[in-house]
């Protein structure tokens, strides 16, 4: 049975991963807003 508190790769905790996923999503949305404005 696996450990429930096993350490994630790259970041010290899973919170690091969660923050990264949210940051990437926000960055994508900002990029898409720019993309939409630029081409319209």
């Amino acid at each position: 049975m696996e450990e429930t508190n096993e350490r994630p790769p790259v970041f010290k905790t899973w919170n690091g991963w969660y923050i990264m996923v949210i940051t990437v999503l926000v960055a994508q949305i900002i990029l898409f807003i720019y993309f939409t404005k630029y081409f319209s």
Binding site: E6, F39, S40
Partner: protein
């Protein structure tokens, strides 16, 4: 299709089946058959999750969606990364902790047998029917474009994958999905490259985007707010994407066994989490690129003759009726507009931005609107009671381009992509339907004392039977009507929200017990179906995407109310 296309198609499909059978060696018990002995690394889990979600319609419909409606469909996936995080925090550790086979097992531990049975029944009903429609949806497109017999196409679309799904269970499903996605992405990339290559010499990728942008197709972000405030019927905007999409993704990935079964195959919580989080990172860009392909196809058709309607079968159907003259009239006007459109975009092609004035842009927009009106006029003919045709050609746009312009061999490969992308999601669905049937129903109510070997054999039988059931549903799916993809999405929205509500109560609301949850789910389901019926009757205005959120919140609210006002002083399970 030419001989090279047939050879590529047959070889690709045969390779997938052989690879699936080759990878089917597993231990003869439920752990081996449904969960690959819980030994999969995160990247196999990731491919499996993506392969399960991405059906043939994803690759057929999305480019067509971009062609007709622009890129705003990508917003539908904005809630997905957030849902992945919630799953990693709550669902994954609990599912792994109890070493579950199905998500619904947890509901018996938390509540009672009847709640578990109700949710697994809702899942089996929804997934069984929607898998049948998922077989029929790409089959009817291929049948229509290539003149294949629909019944045989259904059998090949839903039948061949049964060979490796029955033989190898989750392990064969996961490994074939990996290979399938590699083939799919390579083919889509090649198709995208060729669209750009086939544009006029002076027109590059960036110019194609400018043409799409000028026509309002690059509308990646929309707010859904109009002159009359927020439009609740608007399906794809930032808010419905983040909120509605979040609930939909949470329901789908957290409570649909076809997805839960994929990340339960991971060797640890860490591998499950990594697979899900990576999915959260790559899903939006992947959808964006598929939609971008649609924009490139749109730009391509600005420089080339675009068909009045992309499903030629429907055009032929109308031309054989009393509306033939009306069709001829529409076609003539359309051809005139199409010629003028090409003249204007050639100015852009010859001189670039400098010669392409605002007047030209306005005229191009005007002509495109004119073409859209003529297409709408034709669609009205198709919908006439004496024709009863399919007025939606969105799913035919990309494939029409493939058949008309791509070289021999690549056509066969892209037809193979339709088959194998279907197989990926259908195989996972059959595996999950069988696991829920045996674990949640058979071993509960039919035979509790089965040996590991009997479990294994029975699981194979159930996989086969569900495969046959789904093909039968596909054979009758033409009765549903034309909006098949919408039918699958609506079917999901009718049940997902309620099932998610039950799981949210299970995870986050300890005081609420079995009886309250069961009746909250029953009442919630009735309410969601009532809202759907009211919307269909135009009594209310509500996009189906909101039904997930409403269903989930309603069950949570009703669960609390019933617990504290009705069942408070009684003994619970």
């Amino acid at each position: 299709m030419s001989y090279p296309d047939w050879i590529v198609l047959i070889l690709t499909l045969a390779a997938i089946i052989i690879y699936g059978v080759f990878k089917s060696r597993t231990t003869k018990n439920l752990d081996g058959y449904f969960l690959s002995n819980r030994e999969m690394p995160w990247y196999v889990v990731l491919f499996s999750i993506m392969g399960t979600q991405a059906s043939a319609i994803t690759f057929l419909s999305a480019p067509g969606q971009a062609y007709t409606d622009g890129m705003r469909f990508v917003q539908y996936y904005f809630g997905l990364p957030l849902a992945m995080i919630v799953l990693c925090i709550t669902f994954v550790p609990i599912f792994h902790k109890y070493r579950l086979y199905t998500a619904y097992e947890f509901l018996e531990r938390r509540f009672d047998v009847k709640t578990r049975t109700l949710t697994s029944f809702l899942f089996l009903l929804q997934r069984g029917l929607s898998t049948g429609i998922s077989i029929y949806a790409p089959a009817i497109i291929l049948s229509s474009l290539l003149g294949w017999n629909i019944y045989w196409t259904n059998i090949f679309m839903g039948g061949l994958l049964i060979i490796y799904t029955v033989a190898g269970g989750a392990r064969a499903v996961a490994y074939t999905q990996q290979l399938q996605l590699i083939i799919i992405f390579t083919s889509m990339f090649l198709a995208g490259y060729l669209v750009v290559k086939y544009l006029p010499e002076d027109i590059g990728f960036f110019d194609a985007l400018k043409v799409g942008g000028a026509m309002g197709k690059i509308n990646v972000i929309t707010t859904g707010v109009g002159e009359n405030g927020f439009d609740w019927r608007d399906r794809y905007n930032l808010w419905s994407g983040i909120i509605g999409g979040f609930f939909l993704a949470l329901s789908y990935f957290g409570t649909d066994q076809s997805q839960v079964g994929r990340y339960l195959t991971a060797r640890s919580i860490k591998e499950s989490r990594l697979g899900l989080l990576m999915n959260g990172l790559v899903k939006v860009p992947m959808q964006f690129l598929i939609l971008l392909l649609g924009i490139l196809v749109f730009a391509f058709y600005q420089f080339h003759d675009a068909p009045l309607f992309f499903n030629q079968t429907q055009v032929n159907k109308v031309s054989q009726t009393t509306y033939a003259n009306t069709l001829k009239n529409i076609q003539e006007h359309y051809n005139e507009a199409d010629s003028r459109k090409k003249e204007i975009v050639r100015i852009f092609s010859a001189g670039g931005d400098a010669d392409f004035s605002d007047e030209h842009k306005m005229e191009l927009i005007y002509i495109n609107n004119q073409r859209d009106s003529l297409r709408a006029e034709f669609k009205k003919l198709v919908e006439k009671p004496d024709i009863k045709g399919d007025a939606n050609d969105t799913n035919y746009i990309f494939l029409r381009f493939v058949l008309d312009y791509l070289p021999k061999g690549l056509i066969g490969l892209l037809i193979a992509v339709i088959f194998i992308s279907s197989w990926g999601s259908i195989a996972a669905a059959l595996n999950s339907l069988a696991s829920s049937t045996i674990v949640d129903i058979h071993k509960q109510f039919v035979n509790k004392k089965m040996s590991a070997e009997e479990d294994f054999k029975m699981s194979r039988w159930y996989t086969l039977l569900w495969g046959i059931f789904c093909i039968i549903v596909a054979q009758f799916a033409y009765n549903i009507g034309n909006s098949l993809i919408e039918a699958v999405n609506i079917l999901g929205s009718l049940f997902y929200g309620v099932i998610l509500g039950v799981f949210l109560l299970a995870f986050y609301c300890k005081p609420v017990k079995g009886n309250a949850v069961f009746w909250a789910a029953v009442l919630g389901e009735i309410s969601v179906i009532s809202l759907f019926v009211l919307n269909e009757n135009k009594t209310i205005n509500l996009s189906f995407l909101w039904l997930n959120a409403i269903g989930a919140l309603l069950v949570v609210l009703l669960g609390f109310l019933l617990q504290f006002f009705t069942f408070r002083n009684r003994k619970f399970s």
